[in-house]
């Protein structure tokens, strides 16, 4: 279907006026750089396996209520009658049975399997949303700073530096617990949805900077290219330049930044829950599960094992996919 460049050049050179074309004939479709990248990705086995694993996790997470119905156990149901006097699960390996595939939590006796499904839902939602928001903000800031230069660049770069200098953890520890008090009275419950939004907000406030820097650098190198000047010479306005000319060339770094941001937010949210400022009881959450399970390493290792392994697989799959994506989108081949 496609001519080799040399052949095509020779033919074009020698037959300046090619065959007369019928106006309604469908043109031959070339392979865009995006399609080439997708083909390369398909060939990478690690990427495909990671992709399948991730899709599986996402489907499980989205279908959490359905799974709870089929499984027969909800995430907040307690089975304390299946615990011994010390609050430890009866039976083998932390209480694994046909009814409770991953066993029970000590003390409260909740089912670990269904709590993990729900925990995955929470974590994935927060991670994706935070990654989306930070990428959007970062891209907007980076494009404006990179393209407009001058005072706009100076101001945005200064804001970026300040945001990078602020200590995220200290800020989070100071702000997150008190934000609920501002919006909800002393007798009102802080709903989980609000906690989720606060976490996304905290991540967004600090996470956009690396994407902004990345995009700004790319834009600076792109804006001097002659196709941009050609657009300006044709009378293009700022909007066209940014969105029609520059943005299509930025997809590769943006996509890679996004795909690596998601796992970092999964672990980030788990870490905040570990410190007690993430998602609170009784909503299921990976980080809190791991935090509560570590003292039981000697006495109920299954309790530590399941959430630990799951978050490990999840983050590993994302990282492998992100790396493969970066390789597939290698700019050298987009020539």
């Amino acid at each position: 279907m496609s001519l080799s460049p040399v052949e095509g050049a020779a033919r074009a050179e020698m037959e300046p006026a090619a065959d007369p074309v019928k106006p309604d004939e469908q043109g031959i479709v070339g392979r865009s750089p995006g399609q080439l990248a997708w083909a390369r990705l398909r060939r990478d086995r690690t990427a495909m396996v990671s992709g399948v694993v991730l899709v599986l996790f996402v489907v499980l997470a989205l279908a959490a209520p359905l799974i709870a119905k089929l499984y027969g156990v909800g995430p907040n149901e307690q089975f304390q009658q299946l615990l011994d006097g010390n609050g430890m699960p009866l039976g083998y390996v932390g209480g694994i049975t046909g009814d409770h595939w991953f066993g029970l939590e000590p003390r409260l006796g909740r089912d670990i399997f269904i709590r993990m499904i729900y925990g995955m839902r929470t974590s994935l939602f927060i991670a994706f949303a935070a990654a989306l928001v930070t990428t959007a903000i970062g891209v907007a800031a980076g494009i404006l700073a990179g393209f407009l230069g001058g005072i706009v660049d100076t101001v945005i770069s200064w804001i970026t530096d300040v945001a990078l200098a602020l200590p995220f953890l200290i800020f989070a520890l100071a702000v997150v617990p008190t934000v609920g008090l501002r919006f909800y009275g002393p007798r009102e419950e802080v709903p989980p949805a609000f906690q989720v939004i606060v976490l996304i907000g905290i991540f967004a406030a600090f996470g956009w900077t690396s994407t902004a820097r990345l995009v700004r650098g790319q834009v600076i190198s792109l804006r001097e290219r002659e196709f941009v000047e050609a657009a300006r010479a044709s009378g293009a306005g700022l909007g066209h330049m940014l969105f029609r000319q520059l943005l299509p060339n930025l997809w590769a770094p943006i996509l890679v930044a996004f795909s690596l941001a998601v796992p970092s937010y999964i672990t980030g949210e788990a870490a905040l829950s570990f410190l007690g400022i993430g998602i609170l009881e009784p909503t299921a959450d990976f980080g809190r599960m791991i935090f509560q399970s570590i003292p039981y390493l000697q006495t109920d290792p299954a309790y530590v094992f399941f959430p630990g392994v799951t978050i490990f697989i999840l983050v590993l799959a994302f990282n492998l996919l992100g790396d493969a994506l970066r390789d597939a989108l290698d700019p050298k081949s987009s020539r």
Binding site: N76, G87, L280, P295
Partner: protein, 578 residues
């Protein structure tokens, strides 16, 4: 191929982990350690107050005894000691007016420590008390301890800079909860607070405006430890107390260790309870509960002579109870620390709702959520079993898992909306309560309160919560240190309340006054009756459980017992096997 390798290592890890948990858990036998019945008496015969203390079987002199604790003891200054660790440590380097003879069996006898007897009620009205101080009692520098030094110690407890300690004596002498407004220590260093006099070097006299028959008990707390005026370094005494006991502080590195060595000037013949078996006693700070317990379990080197002060955390209980070799090294027993679900009666005004809560509560589940039977034992009374004269009763019999149906009946279709305040370090307890109570039709909203602020928040009269958990341990095993403190409405102030149910019943208040005026020995039964009456008529709280102590020490340690008064390990009989 990296995928295959990753899968293989993952599988191997999984197998390892799972194998470790492969034995079947068949459950526990419900044994939570010794169950002792508390009984107490006051020994008026001076012979009972004389030393030396009875020898501990198998004890040997020598060695270094270690105590492992996560954080440092907050106060060493005897006038400022009130934490459990402080209270168990203070007898090693200080002596008090009176003290308890205790062997961990629950039978305690109040005797004179620096005093020859536990005090004389001069006019038989509990308002005037006299103590005669023993001869031959000395400080670490050899100087004599007289009534003057003990009086000085009590006087300096009025100093608002020396905060932290109990306030019974100060409030009783000044006859005012705001005692430091009545007498200014700093301005009157050479004088004594009102009502406290030293007619001579051997006599100490208390005169109160109101009768306080519990004075002998109140005098057993460390704020009666003596101090010479020229050795008073004010707030710095907290780092280097001046010893009147068998040991003296030789080194104190904040956050690292506290070292105590023998005080040669302590005379065992004058001391009815203390021994000085180890040459040195060291507190090692740093390791948390898990780390401390694991160190003592492995029993290596110096840890063989160590006690893990933070106890066996509930996550490790299964490991320790399952190991027969650790049984000799475990110290278990009940404590006087009682947890209750306090009901804010200013907001929850309907008695039937409060009673419904008492029917609905699943104590079994709550104990499991708290850490299991090794850590807690369900209780249905307002006073713990370790109180002298305690009687068991259940005002709202509902079975160990509660009776949700009965509760619903009582509510008669209502669904009260209640706000439960919980400290942010134990959110699982809130989940447990919420799930439990909502089965009975309550609608529970959970609010988390920062841990260090919780006590202050619920102590405010106008706090916004309906329910929260409270914990109380009496300072001496009498109902007098529990029921009037927690349920007398006349003590309610704007902040810093102990009566957090905010009940105020004139009839019950009159009962408090009546029983407090009785001789200490007769009060026990009356308090037990009043306990039941308060629960039945007011239902100001839902009693939950009594904390159980579970401690582990190394193989070379002996003589550790759980104090019948405070429920924590007592160190006065500790020795190191040679």
């Amino acid at each position: 191929m990296r995928l295959k390798r990753a899968a293989a290592t993952g599988g191997a890890l999984a197998l390892l982990v799972v194998m470790g948990a492969c034995s079947e858990n068949k459950g526990t036998d419900g044994d939570s350690g010794e169950n002792r019945v508390q009984s107490g008496s006051i020994a008026t015969d001076p012979k009972d107050s004389m030393g030396p203390a009875a020898e501990v079987a198998g004890a040997a002199k020598g060695g270094t005894f270690r105590v492992i604790r996560e954080t440092k003891i907050s106060h060493l200054d005897p006038q400022r000691v009130y934490s459990f660790a402080g209270l168990m440590n203070a007898p090693l380097y200080s002596r008090f007016l009176t003290t308890f003879k205790d062997d961990g069996s629950g039978k305690v006898t109040l005797v004179g420590d620096l005093a020859e007897t536990p005090g004389t009620d001069v006019n038989k009205d509990c308002k005037v008390w006299e103590f005669k101080i023993k001869d031959g009692v000395k400080f670490e520098d050899g100087s004599a301890i007289t009534s003057k030094e003990i009086a000085y110690g009590i006087a300096r407890s009025f100093d608002p800079d020396l905060t932290g300690g109990p306030t019974y004596l100060q409030e009783w002498l000044a006859n005012d909860p705001q005692y430091d407004t009545k007498w200014n220590f700093k301005a009157n260093k050479t004088a004594l607070p009102p009502g406290l006099t030293t007619p001579d070097a051997k006599t100490l006299k208390f005169e109160f405006a109101k009768p306080h028959c519990d004075l002998p008990f109140a005098a057993s707390l460390p704020y009666t430890a003596p101090l010479k005026a020229d050795k008073d370094t004010g707030v710095n005494l907290d780092n280097r107390p001046f010893s009147s006991g068998p040991y003296k502080i030789t080194k104190n590195t904040a956050g690292v260790e506290l070292v105590m060595e023998r005080n040669e000037n302590w005379d065992p013949k004058t001391d009815p309870v203390r021994h000085a078996y180890p040459d040195k006693i060291v507190w090692n700070y740093g390791p948390d509960a898990e780390a401390g317990a694991n160190r003592v379990i492995s029993d290596n080197g110096d840890d063989q002579a160590a006690l893990a002060w933070n106890g066996v955390p509930s996550a490790l209980v299964a490991r320790v109870t399952g190991d027969a070799s650790l049984k000799d090294r475990s110290v278990r027993g009940q404590t006087p620390s009682l947890w209750r679900l306090t009901i804010n009666t200013q907001r929850v005004t309907d008695l039937s709702v409060r009673q419904a809560l008492n029917y609905a509560i699943d104590r079994d589940g709550f104990v499991k959520a708290y850490g299991g039977e090794a850590s807690a034992k369900a209780v249905t009374t307002l006073m713990p079993p370790s109180t002298i004269g305690w009687e068991s009763y259940d005002a709202y019999p509902a079975g160990p898992s509660g009776n949700v149906e009965k509760a619903k009946e009582l509510l008669a279709g209502k669904t009260p909306e209640l706000v439960l305040g919980i400290s942010d370090d134990s959110p699982e307890l809130a989940t447990q309560l919420k799930t439990n109570l909502e089965k009975a039709g309550f609608k529970i909203t959970v609010k988390t309160i920062p841990t260090d602020a919780k006590l202050d928040e619920v102590g405010k009269k106008n706090n916004p919560y309906d329910l929260w958990t409270d914990q109380w341990a009496a300072d001496w095993p009498s109902g007098a240190a529990i029921l009037p403190v927690l349920f007398d409405g006349r003590s309610i102030k704007a902040e810093n309340n102990s009566n957090t149910s905010y009940v105020n019943s004139d009839e019950i208040n009159k009962e408090f006054d009546r029983i407090l005026a009785m001789p200490a020995g007769d009060q026990g039964k009356e308090w037990a009756k009043l306990d039941k009456r308060i629960m039945t008529e007011l239902a100001p709280a839902v009693p939950l459980f009594v904390e159980q102590g579970y401690y582990l020490h190394g193989s070379k340690v002996g003589g550790i017992y759980l104090s019948s008064i405070f429920g924590y390990p007592a160190l006065t009989n500790a020795y190191v096997k040679q």
